[in-house]
Amino acid sequence: MADPMRIRAQMAGDKATVRVLMNHEMETGLRKDAAGKVIPAWFIQEVTAQLNGKPVLSAQWGMSVSKNPFLQFSIKGAKAGDKVAVNWKDNKGDTRTDEATVS
């Protein structure tokens, strides 16, 4: 199971700014190791987020998103105390979900 994400969700006006740091190698599949063998592609492909259980974000990523990815987005109509959940799924089928409370 992958290491936890770090999620910060803060109110700014009537929206919640969400900043996420994810633990992931994001291996492109284009690199070779010291022995000359290709290091297999391993990267997050799908990212979704929910506000109090309701879907608010859906994104697809390729292998050129940086290692230990950062993501920032803004949810409308959120308020302090709401729960923001972020999930990702990578090309190997691994997933991770973490939650934060809007402050």
Binding site: D3, R19, N23, S66, K67, N68
Partner: protein
């Protein structure tokens, strides 16, 4: 006469063109670093490190919560900016990584020598990198305040100074070759002068750090290792007296500088 006037005119043109203000490469880099300030992947390692500190591990199945980093067992806040320092129980001047090895061995039963010989980022070295990130974060914003009250702490300062200026290896480099003067740079990298306080969040006050070029969390020991690699020197050994002495030299020189660790680096 005519030629002189022509040359004068050409020179005036050149001067006018170069006087036009342009954003320097240094400004561009500063802007790039600012954009990455919010959301430093080092935070992922801080979280890992805090978790590890509180987890029962090793043959003795114990946590690190009784580890003394100089401010008493378990006291982590403010400890980073007072290291390296003298420790009575080991009778040595130790930096953070050296001290963590002591604690991992005495409290948890790990083999310190084995960990010292492990490659960076592998096995328990990864543990040390994460602990480094968290422990330094617990001193974030505080000023470097290494103690020099003990004779050994002062001896290590002098040893570190000698090491800093010692030239050797195929390029005949010393630390001072790059970090011994004001205003030096390599390509677009400004090189801080580490023989004195280079300012808040610079040099010794900017490590450990997350290295974006490799996506790795680098402890101070790893940073020193890389300095030696760049000088084409063999590495003096993980948490060796020599590397600790260099830490004392640079850390004492940086007295009063604000620590920004864990930082974000190229």
């Amino acid at each position: 006469m005519k030629i002189i006037r022509l040359i004068a005119a050409a020179l005036t043109l050149t001067v006018t063109v170069s006087a036009y203000p342009q954003k320097s490469a240094a400004d561009g880099i500063a802007e790039y670093r600012k954009m990455l300030e919010d959301g430093n992947p080092a935070e992922l390692f801080e979280a890992k490190g805090e978790d590890i500190w509180k987890t029962s591990r090793g043959p003795k199945k114990a946590t690190l919560q009784k580890c003394d980093l100089g401010l008493g067992p378990g006291a982590v806040k403010g400890a980073w900016v007072q290291m390296p320092r003298w420790f009575a129980d080991t009778g040595r001047v130790q930096d953070l990584e050296s001290r963590l090895l002591t604690c991992m061995e005495t409290l948890q039963g790990f083999n310190a020598a084995e960990i010292a010989n492990t490659g960076f980022d592998k096995g328990e070295q990864a543990t040390l990198a994460a602990l480094s990130a968290w422990i330094s974060s617990e001193s974030k914003g505080q000023k470097m305040a290494l103690p020099q009250g003990h004779a050994e702490e002062r001896r290590f300062y002098e040893l570190g100074k000698r090491a800093f200026f010692f030239r050797g290896g195929p390029m005949d480099f010393s630390c001072a070759s790059c970090h011994g003067e004001e205003g030096k740079r390599i390509r677009l990298q400004d090189l801080p002068n580490l023989t004195k306080n280079p300012g808040n969040g610079i040099g010794f006050a900017a490590w450990p750090a997350y290295r974006v070029s490799s996506g790795e969390m680098w402890s101070m020991q790893r940073r020193l290792n890389d300095c030696y690699r760049q000088q084409r020197f063999p590495y003096p050994g993980f948490a060796s007296d020599l590397t600790v002495a260099l830490g004392v030299y640079m850390g004492v020189n940086a007295m009063g500088a604000e620590s920004i660790a864990p930082a974000l680096k190229r």
